[in-house]
Structure formats: C-alpha cells, structure tokens
C-alpha cells in the first residue's frame, strides 16, 4: 500500500461476512417481525377505516338533523323567508307586501289560521289590492 488512496481501496475491497447461523437467525427473526408488523399495520388500517366511516356517518346525520329542524317558512324571519322564497319575491317593490303574500300563500290551507293572521295585520296589508283577492285563489297568487 503506497498511499492513502491504495489503503482506502484495500479497505473497500475487504469482504465482511457472517457465519450461516447468523444469517439464519437474522432471517428467521426478521420474518417473525415482518409478519407481526404486517398484522399490526392491517389492524391500524382497519381501525382507521372504521373511524373514517364513523366520521362520515356523523357528518351526514348532523346535516340531516340540521335540515329537518329548519322552521317552516311562515315562522321564519323575513330574511330567511326572502332567501327561501327565491325568485318568487321581487327584488324591487314593496317587500313587506311580498313577504305577507308569501306567508298568506303558506297558510292558505288553514283558513282559521289565515284569518287570525289577517286580523293581526295592520295597514298597509289590509288596504292593498291583495286583500281584494278571493281567499280561494290565494294559493295561486303571483306578484
């Protein structure tokens, strides 16, 4: 070995080996660890999938519950009525009148409730042209 480079090369060429019984022990123990790890990994994956499914179900149930508990339109605030009425309510014009008509529309199937509602209302609803409309056609009223 003349110089450092030669010595480095000699070191790199050195072959290091283990006796066959060491190889067998390594492979045998490693296979056991391998199997154990695979089983544990499968278990974790299964638990993860169950947790994911439970989360999805919980979110779906929450959404359904939230939607089903939304109040009927005639019990909602004007803002909600306006948003839920969508295109049926004009963007311009007498909003109070439009909202009243939406409520009337929703109560058309219950005459007594409708009459109570009308009694509770003050001007300008009573003086509007809508009041002239026969009750029987209120459900089809269009603005």
């Amino acid at each position: 070995m003349k110089n450092d480079h030669d010595m480095e090369e000699a070191l790199k060429r050195l072959v290091w080996s283990a006796p066959p019984e060491v190889d067998r022990r390594v492979l045998s123990d490693a296979q056991a660890a391998f199997d154990h790890a695979a089983r544990r990994h499968s278990l974790f994956r299964a638990v993860g999938l169950v947790a994911l499914a439970a989360t999805v179900l919980a979110v779906a149930a929450g959404t359904i519950l939230f939607v089903s508990r939304r109040p009927p339109i005639h019990e909602s605030s004007p803002e909600i009525v306006r948003s839920r009425a969508g295109q049926a309510v004009p963007q311009n014009g007498d909003l109070a009148l439009a909202l009243s008509l939406v409520r009337l529309n929703a109560m058309a199937s219950d005459p007594q409730r409708l009459l109570d509602y009308l009694d509770s209302q003050s001007r300008p609803l009573r003086t509007t042209e809508a009041m002239m409309t026969p009750l029987t056609s209120l459900s089809g009223v269009r603005i």
């Binding site: 050195l14 492979l27 490693a30």
Partner: protein, 182 residues
C-alpha cells in the same frame, strides 16, 4: 443497486413481500457488516448489530417512506446502533472502574503476504487494533460514505480533528499491513 431498485424494493417491503426482504438482506448485509465491524472492532458484536438492524427494518417495513434510500437507511441505523454499543462499553468500563478498552487482536508477525485472503485477514486485524475514534472515522467515511464534515457533526468534534484521525488511521494501517513494528 441503483435508486430505482431501492424504490422498488421499498415498495415490495411495504407490501409485505418476504422474498424482497431476503434479497435486501443479501444485498446489503456486507455493507452493514463492514461498517459495524470496523466501528466496533469485535465480530460477535457486529453480528448482533447486523441482526438488530435487519429485524428493525422488518418491523418498520410498512412505515418506510416510499422513496427511501435503503442503503442510507440501513447504514444510518447500523451506525447509530454501533454508537450505542460503544457508549454502553464506555459506561460499563467507567462503572467497573476498569482499564481502558482492551487492545484488539495483535497484528500478525511481519511476514510476506502470500495470498489475497491472508492480506485481507491482516487488514481486518489491523483495523480492529486501531483506537476506537479512528475506527469510527474509517467506518463512517469509507463504508458509510459520510463526509468529514458530517462525521465531525455526528461526533461533536472539529472537521480538522476528524481529518487527522483519518490520516493517522490510514498511516497506522499501512504500517501494520506492511509488517512494520509500531
């Protein structure tokens, strides 16, 4: 083995392919053994570390990063485990108030190298007789592929110190292999 083979091997290991594990062992056991044998200077301990490194690989196979550099992973694990052993040795020596680490096997009597195997044997013995800090530098640089800077960071010494240890180690090896008396 190039990086593409490594990626493929890791993929197979993650999928639980036992045959892939045996192939990886055959492919890298020599590299791991060279590193830990040089670091530890004791064959039996090196075999134990070899065992621990590959059992640890098997245990962690499902969690391997898909693009892992397998050789680097194994050599890093091996170096860490060998370091732990060296630390335990130091602690044991301190606890027992024992003398410093016993010297490695003595270099053979100066004689003419008659075969490659004999030369290799002489070189292994020479490596084992180096001081621990020089063995570590040789192992990490030659077999671990680490730069002097990386070794210095790991050993918490200056880069110059690492280079000096390396130079002294090679010089001593050269002397021992050529049969010169120390």
């Amino acid at each position: 083995m190039d990086s593409t083979d490594d990626v493929l091997a890791v993929r197979r290991l993650r999928a639980g392919d036992r045959e892939a594990f045996a192939q990886v062992y055959e492919r890298y056991k020599g590299d791991v053994l060279a590193l830990v044998s040089t670091m530890l200077g004791r064959q039996e301990e090196a075999w134990d570390v070899l065992h621990d490194v590959f059992v640890s690989l098997a245990r962690n196979a499902p969690r391997l990063w898909p693009t892992s550099d397998l050789k680097r992973y194994l050599l890093t694990a091996a170096a860490n485990k060998a370091r732990d052993r060296l630390k335990r040795r130091t602690h044991a020596a301190t606890d027992l108030d024992a003398a410093p680490e016993p010297p490695g096997p003595p270099a053979e009597e100066p004689s003419r190298v008659v075969s490659t195997e004999e030369e290799a044997h002489r070189l292994r013995q020479a490596v084992a007789s180096l001081p621990e800090e020089q063995r570590i530098v040789i192992a990490l640089h030659v077999y671990g592929g680490l730069s002097f800077r990386e070794i210095a960071a790991g050993e918490e010494v200056s880069e110059n110190t690492v280079q000096s240890r390396y130079r002294y180690a090679l010089e001593k090896l050269r002397r021992l292999c050529s049969g010169e008396a120390e």
